[in-house]
């Protein structure tokens, strides 16, 4: 396999481990510098580092996608079908880990959760309704309890769903400056991030419930 070298990949490994196969020092990168066999991904400092990114809330999807593809090309089990069982298992586990990290960083809510736990330790996830949407949420809750919905009520639910989706996105976007503060050592920003994230999660749940209800009505 031919692969272009990429600085971002060197952090996979600090270079002082011994290869599982040839017992020599593996050097940097996901392959042993001696026997070129694939090495299990060491627990890297964080998911961001795996992709050669600085830990930030705002990330450009392309900056994530590119190293993800490069790493997949190096480690995917499809390229290890001819090799030993141990190498196939390492390839599978490495790729599974890579996929998990990618899944977390790609999703803004999961990414926020992850970054928060990374920088502020244990946090409590406690979905709470945003204060400014309190009335609308109460109303929606009542609508969702109805067995039968009128055409107007369905319209209203659709409108609410859109409102909530927009609000959710706004809240997610507003996380960035607070995360920046947090990453710069302002621990006070933690509560701000937490409360917004809890609002987002509340909205996520209620949006899902609206969607389910609307789908149920379609059938």
């Amino acid at each position: 396999m031919s692969h272009t070298p990429n600085d971002s990949l060197h952090i996979l490994n600090d270079g002082h481990h011994l290869c599982w196969s040839c017992k020599e020092e593996v050097g940097e990168g996901p392959f042993c510098s001696h026997c070129v066999k694939i090495q299990p991904l060491e627990e890297v400092s964080d998911y961001f580092a795996l992709f050669g990114l600085e830990p930030h809330y705002k990330i450009d999807p392309a900056d994530l996608q590119k190293p993800f593809i490069e790493l997949s090309r190096k480690m995917h089990p499809d390229f290890y079908g001819q090799l030993s069982d141990s190498e196939q298992v390492i390839a599978r586990d490495n790729t599974a880990y890579l996929n998990m990290a990618y899944g977390v960083l790609k999703d803004p809510i999961k990414r926020a959760d992850y970054l928060l736990s990374l920088k502020a330790g244990n946090t409590k996830s406690n979905p709470t309704p945003p204060q400014d949407l309190f009335d609308e949420i109460l109303e929606t809750g009542e609508l969702l309890m109805n067995d039968i919905l009128s055409a107007d009520e369905i319209k209203q639910l659709n409108r609410t769903k859109n409102d909530f989706t927009v609000r959710q996105r706004e809240l997610l976007d507003s996380l960035a400056p607070h995360f920046d503060k947090l990453l710069n050592g302002h621990n006070s920003a933690k509560t701000e991030v937490e409360s917004r994230l809890n609002n987002v999660k509340y909205l996520r749940t209620i949006i899902r419930r609206i969607e389910q209800r609307l789908k149920q009505d379609e059938n």
Binding site: I69, S72, A96
Partner: protein
């Protein structure tokens, strides 16, 4: 004499509800492996008086011998008999429950599992491939509908094993199709694969970037396909008959088989004609009647089915966070996309004309063979990144589904969850694994369960048991549990809810009824023996006339020839092939020199025609 050593080969197999076929990549191009009736092997098995027929021969027996002829086995894979209760009445053969309640087929009081019946189909495909290639095939990539659950995937892999195949990978049919289409295209874009087969429907949304085929989402129904369209036509015929005061005896297997065959023909005719005349004759009934089915009526009849497929398309787009406008290309796969109404519906929904230039029947097998080529090291510029169609989780308090791996997660995938005990001194916990999207496990599919035992008795909530899910690149789940305090790993075997245990598979690999029909070894042995004798004769002749041997060459050739003579006495085609290749290797240089010499000698006399004769 040839010096091309046969490399270990791997084929791609599309194991379809109605038709199956194999393909292989040679010189970087995939092509279907054909037999005397083309590439397609009908997915039909007949078992009259325990004599196994597969494919075309079985298909021909369908109407004559309906109770002994089985089709659409794929719909039974990984299912409980109770799951398919509503549709079991439409088959002419008998659906039964095996002792564990799994859906099976009963023929002459013998129960056959769908896994074994699928293995028989795979065997038929494998034999056709071996004939086409002139050598044994024991490795394959097999395709499944993207929406197949864990039990159905596992059943397919087991079927491969029983048929004597090392299953390199299980891949999704729409993804395989995308691979075949995207093979030579260097472009980027987002594509939708609409895969409507004989028994299943899948929609997959993929992103193509420089040879990477990244599946963004998938949706579908493993029991929605051409079979359902046939059923609509069968109902139409029954109703028309009733209007003519004829009550069709649908309890008769023969009549059910005949109706099914008629419906298929009418459906195909309607793809090319605006109107099809239907003449029904019932041998045992004096009655017969004629009617006609017009395309617009047919289109209206199947509209609910098409609407369901479009609903899945919407969901797949939603899951990928995309809209119809984001789709650059639409690919049609599967025989049911030949129905004009299907194409029109797809075109109307996606607002663009769909592609179908690769032929909806072959494209999946072609893609599978490309994947086989990738896995066996044939190329590394293409890569499939696929997803799991359904969420995976375990039951927690109150029967709630606790999801560990979300649907549309990339595979392979891992997930961990820490568990503890509810009662003081508890030494075991039951872990039940489920697949599906509903909140309560009762509404999802049980994959299996295991008891984690040997937990050191502690206060409730103290033990920390890590349960790890590993979903491999085939989309098949493995579960591991570790007591994190002791670091002790529990050896866990999930007892599958809807499948065979690995011991059962092992015994079928040796003892399945399908091996009675497995005469490929014998046939290969005969073919190879003939080839070996020809090569030996030619070698002996060469040894007599040639004088300019290189050092050691003559001895090498004589040794290889002796080995081959020895192999001829045995009955292993593998050994014979090996020794034959060895002899060909030993003589390759000599053969080349001989051809050159005779050519130069002959060319002096300008007898080119003879020279061609000689080197043939």
């Amino acid at each position: 004499m040839s010096n091309n050593k046969k490399k270990q080969i791997a084929i791609g197999i599309d194991l379809g509800t109605t038709n199956s076929l194999a393909a292989i990549v040679t010189d970087r191009q995939p092509h279907a492996l054909t037999g005397e009736h083309g590439a397609i092997v009908p997915s039909v098995i007949s078992l009259k008086d325990k004599k196994l027929e597969i494919g075309r021969a079985a298909y021909n027996a369908l109407v004559e011998n309906p109770e002994h002829t089985v089709y659409s086995v794929k719909r039974l894979m990984g299912k409980a008999a109770a799951d398919i209760k509503d549709e079991s009445g439409r088959y002419p053969f008998e659906i039964a429950a095996d002792p564990r309640g799994l859906a099976s087929v009963k023929i002459d009081d013998t129960i056959y599992s769908p896994v074994e019946l699928s293995a028989a189909i795979l065997l038929g495909v494998k034999e056709q491939a071996e004939k086409a290639l002139g050598q044994p095939v024991d490795r394959a990539v097999i395709t499944v509908p993207a929406y197949f659950d864990d039990a159905q995937r596992q059943a397919t892999r087991d079927a491969g094993k029983i048929a004597g195949l090392e299953v390199l990978r299980i891949i999704n049919e729409p993804t395989a199709a995308a691979l075949a289409y995207g093979l030579d295209k260097k472009d980027r874009g987002t594509i939708a694969v609409y895969d409507f087969g004989g028994g299943t429907f899948d929609i997959s949304i993929l992103r193509l970037t420089d040879g990477i085929f990244e599946v963004l989402s998938t949706a579908g129904d493993t029991r929605l396909g051409g079979d359902d369209i046939d059923d609509v036509i069968v109902d139409f015929i029954i109703n028309e008959a009733r209007a003519n005061d004829i009550d069709i005896n649908t309890a008769s297997p023969k009549i059910r088989a005949m109706l099914k065959r008629n419906a298929e023909e009418i459906k195909m005719d309607l793809s090319n004609n605006e109107r099809v005349n239907i003449d029904m004759h019932f041998a045992h009934q004096a009655d017969s009647f004629s009617t006609a089915l017009k395309r617009p009526i047919f289109d209206r009849m199947i509209e609910p089915i098409l609407n369901r497929t479009i609903d899945f398309c919407k969901r797949a787009l939603d899951d990928a966070n995309l809209t119809v406008d984001d789709i650059d290309e639409v690919i049609l796969v599967g025989g049911s996309t030949r129905v004009p109404a299907v194409r029109e519906e797809v075109e109307a929904f996606f607002k663009r004309e769909p592609h179908c230039d690769l032929g909806p029947d072959e494209v999946v097998a072609l893609g599978a063979s490309i994947q086989a080529d990738i896995i066996t090291g044939g190329r590394d510029d293409l890569l499939l990144l696929d997803v799991t169609p359904l969420s995976l989780g375990i039951e927690t308090m109150g029967g709630v589904m606790n999801v560990l791996i979300q649907r549309n997660s990339k595979i392979p995938a891992v997930a961990n969850e820490i568990f503890t005990t509810y009662v003081d001194g508890q030494t075991s916990v039951a872990i039940r694994v489920f697949q599906g999207e509903r909140e309560l496990v009762a509404d999802n599919r049980s994959l299996g369960h295991f008891d984690l035992t040997g937990i050191a008795p502690q206060k409730a909530g103290m033990p920390r048991i890590e349960v790890a899910f590993t979903l491999d690149a085939d989309g098949i789940l493995k579960v591991k549990a570790t007591d994190t305090r002791s670091g002790k790993e529990q050896d866990i075997t999930i007892r599958p809810s809807y499948g065979l245990t690995q011991d059962e598979v092992k015994s079928m690999v040796r003892e399945s009824f399908i091996h009675a029909a497995d005469d490929i070894e014998k046939r290969l042995l005969i073919e190879l023996s003939n080839e070996a004798k020809t090569v030996l004769a030619a070698t002996e002749k060469a040894l007599e006339i040639v004088t300019d041997f290189k050092p050691g060459e003559e001895d090498d050739i004589r040794d290889a020839a002796d080995d081959l003579r020895e192999a001829l006495k045995g009955n292993s085609s593998r050994v014979l092939r090996e020794k034959l290749d060895d002899l060909n290797d030993a003589t390759s240089d000599l053969a080349a020199r001989m051809v050159n010499e005779s050519l130069s000698g002959l060319l002096k006399n300008k007898k080119v025609g003879d020279a061609e004769e000689l080197i043939k």
